[in-house]
């Protein structure tokens, strides 16, 4: 109720002719030209899409969640293996999936299944700065930019899609848009204002080699 997930963001794109299976390449950068990492690119088909249930994991290491952004199809289960020598307390107050895994070490007994679409923010009750996002979508066609700001979506069947963008710290309102995919490769470039991740007050570990 309280949680207001970030709106689906439209973007400008350049489109070419459609094919039976195509690919989409998105390059995201700040207006200053700095590549944006962890930019989610999601294509939602008008018709029902095949389910692509996979298993995923968000590791806790060095008192950080890794990866920062995980995109999954609805119904996917995520493991939260703890690689640190101390316990974590993972929780989510996000509407699509509220849960908590109370103080634990090693691998929890069972993974968490994300059965509703939406954005789920993850935190650790012990370490305030630890944060991670799980974007739960109803489509198998999604991808996220790497450090170079590039995302590649392959084997996208021909058809009409709604193109959405999302980023945990996205400042701009990016409009959604329709995208007709063919068998060709579509390249999109977009500019978005994403501030860097705030520097959390992460204390050093006593006696550690960090």
């Amino acid at each position: 109720m309280i949680l207001a997930p970030k709106a689906w963001l439209p973007l400008l794109l350049a489109c070419s002719a459609c094919a039976t299976a195509g690919s989409l390449e998105v390059v995201a950068a700040t207006p200053e030209g700095k590549p944006i990492e962890d930019f989610a690119v999601v294509l939602e088909a008008a018709a029902p899409s095949p389910t692509k249930k996979t298993k995923s994991a968000i590791i806790q290491r060095d008192r950080e969640f890794n990866p920062y952004l995980t995109i999954i199809q609805t119904g996917t289960a995520i493991e939260f293996p703890n690689r640190d020598p101390f316990k974590h307390h993972v929780y989510s107050f996000s509407q699509p999936k509220m849960f908590e895994i109370k103080l634990y070490a090693g691998k929890p007994a069972k993974p968490v299944v994300f059965d509703k679409p939406g954005v789920v923010a993850l935190g650790c009750n012990i370490h305030d700065w630890m944060e991670a996002y799980v974007l739960v979508v109803d489509t198998p066609y999604f991808g996220k930019t790497g450090q170079d700001g590039r995302a590649h979506l392959d084997n996208i069947p021909e058809g009409v899609y709604r193109l959405r963008y999302w980023h945990p710290r996205l400042m701009d309102e990016l409009p959604t848009r329709e995208l007709r995919m063919g068998n060709e490769n579509v390249r999109l470039t977009l500019k978005a204002t994403v501030p860097p991740r705030p520097a959390h007050n992460k204390p050093p570990l006593e006696g550690s080699g960090y």
Partner: protein
């Protein structure tokens, strides 16, 4: 208060200087005090403002800590996530209570108040400070003092993360008067929170009380945040500065000047007190000091006044060792000096330098001091023939003689009375309480004392004296009368060789009119009241008037014609004769000259007194006339036999000189005195005038007739002209012609008359003589 007074001036200078110095100090203290106060106020205000800001930020951090604590509470976040409003409100209240925060809100990310502890049942409403939220998105956390809407709160906005931002916690303290007072008590400045908008200034909270607070909005209107200003609230002065807190919200910090100025005002009051006390002290002190200075000076001034009046008796008792003491002792020495000099002067004034006895002045003074109830006698002592001794043996011997006489008289005067030397050889005793007999006895003592010869330079001088006694008050009540009477008595004593004479028995008492005449004589001479009358002298051989005797008359304006016997003796005794005789000589010589010019051959004769004869002045006067060629008609001077005998030697000397000047000399009143023929023989005289007493008694006394006859023969034998005066009958006239007298004069021939009458008389007589022939 007169500034002529030294004392007042000293006081004025002292007090004036003190007031001046104190005024300068006060001005300086006031000026620097104001600066100090300004500085203190400014510092107080600044430090108050800093303290205020610190308190503010402390409050903020308190709020922030509490809010953050709440924001990081897992259960709270869970309550938010699950929309558990009762739990949210409860948690908010719980954390708010810990720090006594009044305002506790949970605000959704879209700016709606989801939970409000002050209004738990309210439906979600827009957070009234949306700007605060957008600020909070930029910097975390954010705090301010804000009006919501009519009440002011110090609020912080803290985000709730889970881990993405979940909501806002807004926590606030109520900013009210109590809050302001608490801040004021800690910061030391008055704290007011106001909202400033177009409508003016609204006070949200203030530590000021009552009317001060009421005055604030109006007074603070002109305040801006750039610098501090002096505001006046209800007559109190506040240095004020505005600190912006929020868009329209200001904190006005004020420091009351009076409060900081109080110690200084106290100091000022103390200073004024010191000034007043100092002035008072100086007035009293300088007054006392001035009095210490002026008191002796005033005493000196008083002493000077006493000295001015001749009173030297009161010695000054100024014992101080300072300059004034020195002045006083100088003053004492000065007054002693003046006193001794004055005594010396008095001595000189009252003492006879030769004998050391009192002088005439002192004696007269003593006489003036006699009082009616106390009878006294004066005994006037005159040495016999002193002038003769003086001339014969020299003034040295004469002076020595006077000294010895003075000593002898002084020896007998001890205890008897006052002794003075009145002049030349004249001494006088004032004998208090002596009656006639006692005075007579004392006079005999005097004569006894002088009977012993005096030895001077191996010379033995036999001296004698005559004493005249006058009694007070019988013989006179004033000094001059008494002295005069005594002098007359001395003359009588000399005349009769009686040694002692009483004034009471001497001649007739001088009529009072005589005494006043003496005083008038000088004026008479000036007013030309003296006239000269002439009595013809008839030559028995030729029957012609060949000479005239000039006699002086006084035409007194009130008493008429006064005979010379009434005033000439006094003129002689007072010395005034010295002025009369030259005047007469001048008149007579002039008249004779006029007659001579008109063809009348008349030899004028003038009577010369003893005084004239013995003084050198007469010779000089005559010599002056002679050198003026005024003696052409000739001049005859008539000198009494007694005058000649007064001092034969000087008389001789002077007569020789006069004779040498061509003056005829006539011995007047011949036969009444004791002139020896041997003496007369030596004199350069030309004429004898037989004393009128012999002529008067010619008819009755054959003896007198014999004397006259033999005198005429004697005169002729000595080659002198013989004159008979006082001829009053024809018988006398005939008889005198028979015995061979050369010249006659008297009433039978003519009385003395003015020159003009004489001329008429002479003319008539000439016609008569012609007719007779």
């Amino acid at each position: 208060m007169s500034f002529r007074s030294l004392r007042n001036r000293i006081v004025a200078v002292f007090v004036g200087l003190l007031v001046l110095v104190m005024a300068m100090v006060l001005v300086l203290v006031n000026r620097s005090g104001d600066q100090i106060i300004d500085g203190v106020i400014e510092r107080q205000l600044k430090s108050g403002a800093r303290t205020f800001q610190i308190l503010l930020s402390q409050n903020n951090s308190q709020l922030e800590i509490a809010a953050k604590l709440l924001a990081s509470d897992f259960a709270f976040r869970e309550a938010i996530a699950t929309g558990d409003k009762p739990t949210i409100l409860s948690a908010l209240r719980n954390h708010g209570n810990r720090i006594r925060a009044r305002k506790m809100l949970l605000v959704s990310l879209d700016g709606r108040v989801m939970a409000d502890t002050q209004n738990p049942s309210a439906r979600p409403y827009p957070f009234p400070l949306p700007d605060l939220l957008s600020n909070a998105e930029q910097s975390v956390p954010v705090s301010t003092i804000a009006a919501m809407p009519s009440e002011a709160y110090q609020v912080v906005v803290v985000p709730v993360f889970a881990p993405a931002r979940l909501a806002w916690i807004v926590m606030g303290f109520r900013v009210d008067d109590a809050w302001a007072r608490e801040f004021a008590s800690i910061s030391g400045v008055e704290v007011s929170i106001v909202r400033k908008d177009k409508g003016g200034i609204n006070t949200l909270a203030t530590s000021l009380s009552g009317e001060l607070a009421a005055d604030l909005p109006k007074a603070a209107a002109r305040l801006d945040s750039s610098h501090s200003e002096l505001l006046t609230l209800a007559d109190s002065h506040y240095q004020s500065v505005a600190e912006p807190l929020d868009k329209n919200v200001l904190a006005i910090l004020q420091r009351q000047i009076d409060q900081d100025a109080a110690p200084f005002r106290t100091m000022q009051v103390v200073l004024w007190g010191i000034l007043a006390g100092g002035v008072l002290f100086f007035i009293v002190g300088s007054f006392l000091l001035a009095r210490r200075i002026t008191h002796p000076i005033n005493r000196l001034a008083l002493a000077a006044k006493r000295i001015e009046t001749g009173d030297y008796s009161d010695a000054l008792a100024v014992r101080s060792q300072d300059e004034i003491g020195e002045l006083a002792s100088s003053f004492v020495r000065m007054s002693e000096g003046i006193a001794s000099r004055e005594q010396k002067i008095l001595r000189l004034a009252y003492q006879d330098l030769l004998t050391g006895l009192f002088n005439r002045t002192r004696f007269l003074q003593a006489l003036e001091e006699l009082s009616e109830g106390n009878p006294a006698a004066i005994a006037l002592v005159d040495l016999d023939r002193f002038r003769h001794i003086n001339n014969a043996l020299g003034h040295g011997v004469g002076d020595h003689l006077l000294i010895v006489v003075g000593q002898r008289l002084d020896a007998i005067s001890r205890g008897s009375g006052l002794l003075a030397r009145l002049g030349e050889d004249e001494f006088a005793f004032l004998l208090p309480e002596h009656d006639q007999n006692a005075a007579w006895a004392f006079a005999e003592t005097i004569l006894e004392a002088l009977r012993k010869p005096v030895e001077i330079d191996d010379q033995r001088l036999d001296i004698s004296a005559s004493v005249g006694i006058a009694l007070f008050p019988q013989d006179g009540v004033n000094a001059s009368t008494l002295l005069r009477r005594a002098e007359l008595a001395v003359y009588a004593a000399k005349k009769h060789r009686s040694g002692i004479a009483l004034a009471a028995t001497v001649e007739e008492q001088p009529e009072p009119e005589h005494l006043s005449l003496i005083g008038e004589m000088r004026e008479a001479l000036v007013r030309d009241e003296f006239v000269v009358h002439y009595q013809p002298k008839l030559d028995l051989h030729s029957g012609e008037v060949i000479a005239v005797e000039a006699v002086i008359r006084w035409l007194h304006p009130e008493r008429g014609l006064i005979q010379p016997c009434k005033f000439i003796p006094f003129a002689e005794n007072t010395g005034f004769i010295r002025e009369i005789t030259p005047w007469v000589l001048e008149k007579v010589v002039d008249q004779a000259a006029r007659w001579h010019e008109s063809g009348r051959k008349l030899l004028p004769s003038v009577n010369i007194s003893t005084y004239d004869l013995l003084s050198a002045g007469l010779v000089e006067t005559v010599r002056a006339l002679a050198s003026d060629q005024k003696l052409t008609p000739g001049l005859c001077l008539e000198i009494t036999e007694s005058a000649l005998m007064e001092d034969p030697e000087i008389s001789l000397d002077h007569l020789m000189q006069l004779a040498a000047l061509g003056v005829r000399l006539s011995v007047d009143d011949y036969g009444a005195g004791q002139a020896s023929l041997a003496y007369l023989k030596a004199l350069p005289i030309h004429e004898l005038k037989i004393d009128r007493s012999f002529i008067h008694s010619l008819a009755q006394s054959p003896k007198d007739a014999a004397i006259v006859r033999s005198t005429v023969a004697l005169g002729h034998a000595l080659g002198l002209t013989v004159v008979a005066e006082g001829v009053e009958t024809e018988a006398d006239f005939v008889w005198l012609r028979q015995v061979g007298a050369d010249l006659v004069q008297g009433y039978w021939i003519a009385r003395p008359m003015p020159a003009s009458e004489l001329e008429i008389w002479l003319d008539k007589r000439q016609r008569w003589a012609v007719a007779a022939n």
